[in-house]
Symmetry: C2
Subunit: 306 residues, 2 copies
């Protein structure tokens, strides 16, 4: 099945305790579509400026990412500059230049309107809504958001929540959206706003899936070298949605597997700057780390204690 993603394509300048890069390829839709491309065809909806290099477009095309929805407009591509401290959990934004992204108006190519699997990256909820209105018969819609939209555009966000199947947020975002400190209750309150499922992304502490009634937890893989956490959440989302679209069903087994696949992709993403590591994968490496996740979490049943 084809998977449509709308989000940002950007150039990131990033400093971590382990090094720095200038103007490396980034953006939520770039990480998402690269990750998802290992599992399914992807339709990319985003905007780039005149400065975006043809070779990056060819790289994406080469992995089965359809770029009809990637619009080039006059001006410069979106830029983000950030820095991470020792714990790597929080990015400090040093500079944001929206550039062409400021007037992004997602109009889908005709063919995209038939997409069954859709992911709304972390953009203004009014734009997420505009994408949704163009999709004719979606089968599964996932969406990401952040505190900036939760606090600033609650009405638009509520309209998005009413139409999606699954929300991807971190702990703090879930608590803020639900106005509830307990994460289990927060997930229930979010589900009451629309999505049947909520994925709580916890960075280096893993991911918690609140499914329809049941809960599933996947850890983050304990890595010796976490180089740059940028894009981990989007790589997770791309792996999850890509795997679901590939399998074409939404049963609990598939969603649990998809959560682990997402964690696999995120674990590779953070091993290098930008998309460097994420672009080098293949079925063998993905299967291998999936197996490592199985070993990391497997334990025997308990013999009766009496």
């Amino acid at each position: 099945m084809s998977l449509l993603v709308v989000g940002s394509v950007a150039f990131d300048s990033i400093k971590t305790p382990f090094g720095e890069v200038e103007e490396a390829l980034g953006g939520s839709a770039t990480y998402f579509s690269t990750s998802a491309s290992y599992f399914t065809d992807v339709q990319l909806v985003a905007v780039i400026g005149e400065d975006f290099p043809e070779k990056e477009l060819n790289e994406l095309r080469g992995r089965g990412v359809d770029l009809q929805g990637l619009v080039r407009t006059p001006g410069r591509t979106f830029r983000w500059k950030g820095e991470y401290g020792m714990d790597l959990n929080d990015a400090k934004t040093l500079d944001t230049q929206l550039n062409v992204f400021e007037h992004f108006d997602p109009v889908l190519p005709e063919e995209y309107c038939n997409a069954e699997y859709v992911f709304l990256g972390n953009i203004h909820p009014a734009l997420q809504l505009k994408v949704l209105e163009q999709i004719k018969a979606p089968k599964f819609i996932g969406a990401d958001t952040m505190n900036f939209w939760i606090n600033g555009w609650p009405d638009d966000l509520r309209k998005v929540l009413a139409k999606i199947d699954m929300l991807f947020v971190n702990d703090a975002e879930a608590r803020a959206l639900a106005d509830e400190p307990n994460i289990v209750k927060a997930a229930e309150k979010i589900k009451a706003m629309g999505p049947k499922r909520v994925m709580i992304k916890r960075g280096e502490y893993g991911a918690l899936l609140f499914d329809d009634g049941e809960t599933f937890f996947a850890p983050a893989y304990p890595l010796e070298a976490v180089f740059d956490p940028t894009g981990a959440g989007d790589s997770f989302g791309g792996g999850f949605m890509g795997f679901v679209a590939r399998n074409g069903n939404l049963d609990r087994n598939t969603l649990c597997q998809a959560t682990v696949v997402g964690s696999v992709m995120a674990s590779y993403c953070v091993e290098r700057f930008s998309l460097e590591r994420l672009r080098q994968l293949g079925p063998n490496l993905i299967e291998k780390r999936y197996q490592q996740f199985a070993e990391l979490t497997r334990f025997d049943p308990l013999a009766p204690l009496d």
Copy 2:
């Protein structure tokens, strides 16, 4: 097998967003021994003052905790007063009265010197060392510590580390002790200081066991009502060590199961103030939540991606 624990017995006054208690029973050795008592006999080494009620002693005796090593000395029992904010991960200490704990000098009853399983609760490393020197033929020694000892008494702590089999610490403590931000590398560096195994306790994010070469992860159980996190780490340690002592072996399967058992005990501990919930358990409830942990983390193998 009998399990010896040395630590604190205290009265805690605690405020959480969900309520407050005054002078409720607490202390690391109290939580630890109550939790471990569901799996094995426990020998308790600690100090109490003249004000400690007989009924609490009887409660401990009733669950198979040997109190020959619990010394009563003139003065008041240790008091701690703390408060938790909305995220429940960090306690703010409002008042500490060491009282009789200030001159605690652990001298083991003759019989205790034959203990095979030993847990050194979070006390001054010089006292932990003094206990160890009295143990004749230990089979497995676990120890807890904290930044206060890591920063203030590094030489004493190094001597403890050289003699123990497993260290129980949180992320920040592991990073401080190893002077290394990456948790996998930090665990390796700690292992080079002595203990063959390191358990990283992550509170509501679970626990990560660095075994001899292999790693295991158990999540914390996602609870709708976390009432008071005090004692969760000690209940985890008691469940882990109690289960290991009961099984009498140290193979990977046992240690992984013990990690889940520890997580089970911690998950019950935090459902009520003080030891209220921890005292009400039994084999059925422990087995039931263990099974819930299995369901929370179980996922199918991956079909080949090619």
